[in-house]
């Protein structure tokens, strides 16, 4: 097997380690659109990174964090519905990003790579970063697992039980921002939310506990990464979309399974 494929596999599997457990919470908390918004704002992150000449991964991450904080602030103050705010942030950030990029005539941003990612191009250093980031965010998620689960069930019950709801929710949103910034390079903006949500949704039918659902989401995500990369190799299809296609097929297959 070729080295680039092994690196792609390693990177994809590292990502599913965290996208599975994080994805189930995105599904439970109905935050799919939040993931989309962060992904869209990544373009602005890239644009700012190019203009300020800083590391792109870092500028994407910083912007995702800023968007998450801005959302929390607007939720408290504006009195607008969350999906409206997300629409404003997502499309506002996307448009500003495109405008900002146009200021740099000398820079041609590969929009396709940005939209669909380029998992086959990851280097050894990227793989190490992904595994480091995944393990770090997974251990952070495990630390807040119980209060986060509690508030996903019922925020006010959790608050009466002593959970610091706002703080835990912020921590969770920052984790999502981190994972999206990392995943963008692999599967691209359009497919990140898919990787968070589809394996989690597919796992639900087979699970009897929240933890089981998180584990199965990771396993299904890993299966999709392997199947997608192999398909991409044999059929010469783009890697990122192939992974998401595989996840979607796994999801549909799972719907045939009788719920116990």
């Amino acid at each position: 097997m070729d080295d680039f494929l092994l690196r792609a596999l390693a990177a994809g599997l590292g990502l599913t380690l965290i996208s599975g457990p994080l994805g189930v919470f995105v599904v439970w908390l109905r935050m799919a659109y939040f993931g989309d918004t962060l992904a869209h704002s990544a373009l602005l992150g890239i644009a700012l990174g190019l203009l300020l000449e800083v590391d792109l991964q870092l500028s994407v991450l910083v912007l995702a964090v800023l968007i998450a904080v801005a959302l929390l602030g607007l939720q408290r103050r504006s009195g607008l519905a969350t999906d409206t705010l997300l629409g404003i942030l997502a499309h506002g950030a996307l448009a500003i990003g495109l405008v900002a990029i146009s200021f740099r005539d000398d820079v041609r941003v590969d929009l396709l790579a940005y939209l669909f990612g380029d998992i086959l191009a990851v280097g050894t250093r990227d793989v190490l970063w992904i595994w480091g980031g995944a393990l770090l965010s997974l251990s952070a998620l495990m630390r807040i697992w119980r209060p986060l689960l509690n508030l996903s069930v019922h925020a006010e019950l959790a608050a009466v039980d002593g959970v610091r709801v706002a703080r835990i929710k912020l921590a969770f949103m920052l984790l999502v921002a981190l994972v999206i910034a990392v995943a963008m390079k692999l599967v691209g903006v359009l497919l990140i939310t898919a990787l968070l949500i589809i394996p989690a949704a597919a796992a639900q039918r087979f699970s009897r506990s929240p933890e089981q659902m998180a584990l199965f989401a990771t396993l299904i995500g890993a299966a999709a990464v392997v199947a997608g990369l192999l398909a991409s190799l044999w059929l010469d299809t783009p890697a990122g979309p192939s992974i998401v296609t595989a996840a979607t097929l796994l999801f549909l297959l799972g719907q045939l399974h009788r719920r116990h």
């Binding site: 599904v27 439970w28 119980r146 069930v153 006010e156 019950l157 009466v160 639900q204 009897r208 506990s209």
Partner: protein, 253 residues
């Protein structure tokens, strides 16, 4: 605060977005006391409960809680994520992971047979009782129950109210609950607070049921019809609404 007091609210007012939900309400809850808040829809009952729980800060007035006060809360509705696999046991474990207490409390409230069932498959009445069992788990000094009997038929309702009184007697916890029907809750409560954004009247349930402010809100006719329609049983229902040890029907007087 006096040693006997668990919760004192003074001149409480809440205004949200220019709309006044509550104004000038005094509230006091003593140890082992059962306090019922009644009022029509939109009277601010749940808002008052959220003030007492500290989930909402009053725009006017103050809420003082006894230090170290442990509260068990039963919300009006439980909107669980449909796609979260969660058994009743696991749901209760979110409050306290102690399996022995969990099973004891589940038995006491009559939900022990439901522990392995998924939360989403429960009926309205079963969900209410699971919520009550969970509220008990933290060994609370104060139980706050927001419409505990909704979704339960009339016989189940009086059964549940008897259970609440028994819990108070055995565990010595105070109870603050919301109801929109005074008649059923009458026997189960020490004190009634009748509100309609402001405090209409308060006191012993017998006194409140005769109070002009109460009759204005709920109407004298309502009180009379319910008094005439007494419903005698020669059998008992358990909490599931099943008939226990019976051999006959109903007599209406």
């Amino acid at each position: 605060m006096k040693p006997d007091q668990l919760l004192v609210g003074r001149k409480l007012g809440v205004t949200v977005g220019g709309r006044q939900l509550l104004r000038n309400i005094d509230l006091q809850l003593n140890r082992r006391q059962i306090l019922t808040i009644i009022g029509p829809n939109g009277a601010g009952k749940t808002t008052l409960v959220r003030l007492a729980l500290g989930l909402l800060q009053p725009t006017e007035g103050t809420v003082t809680r006894a230090s170290g006060l442990k509260v068990g809360y039963m919300p009006q509705r439980l909107n669980l994520p449909e796609n979260m696999p969660l058994t009743v046991r696991r749901f209760m474990m979110l409050t306290s992971p102690d399996p022995v207490r969990l099973e004891a409390d589940a038995r006491e409230v009559g939900v022990a047979h439901l522990l392995q069932r998924p939360m989403q498959g429960l009926s309205g009445g079963e969900t209410q009782r699971v919520l009550l069992a969970r509220a008990l788990l933290g060994e609370p000094d104060l139980l706050v129950l927001d419409e505990p009997v909704q979704g339960i038929d009339v016989n189940g309702q009086s059964e549940l109210y008897r259970l609440i009184v028994r819990l108070r007697d055995q565990r010595g916890c105070a109870v603050m609950m919301v109801s929109h029907d005074l008649h059923l809750v009458m026997a189960a409560t020490d004190e009634v607070l009748c509100i309609n954004q402001h405090l209409c009247c308060s006191g012993h349930p017998d006194a409140v049921s005769q109070h002009p402010a109460y009759l204005d809100l709920f109407g004298a006719i309502d009180a009379k019809t319910l008094a005439v329609y007494t419903h005698h049983h020669d059998h008992k229902h358990n909490l599931h609404g099943d008939v226990v040890g019976n051999d006959g029907g109903h007599h209406h007087g």
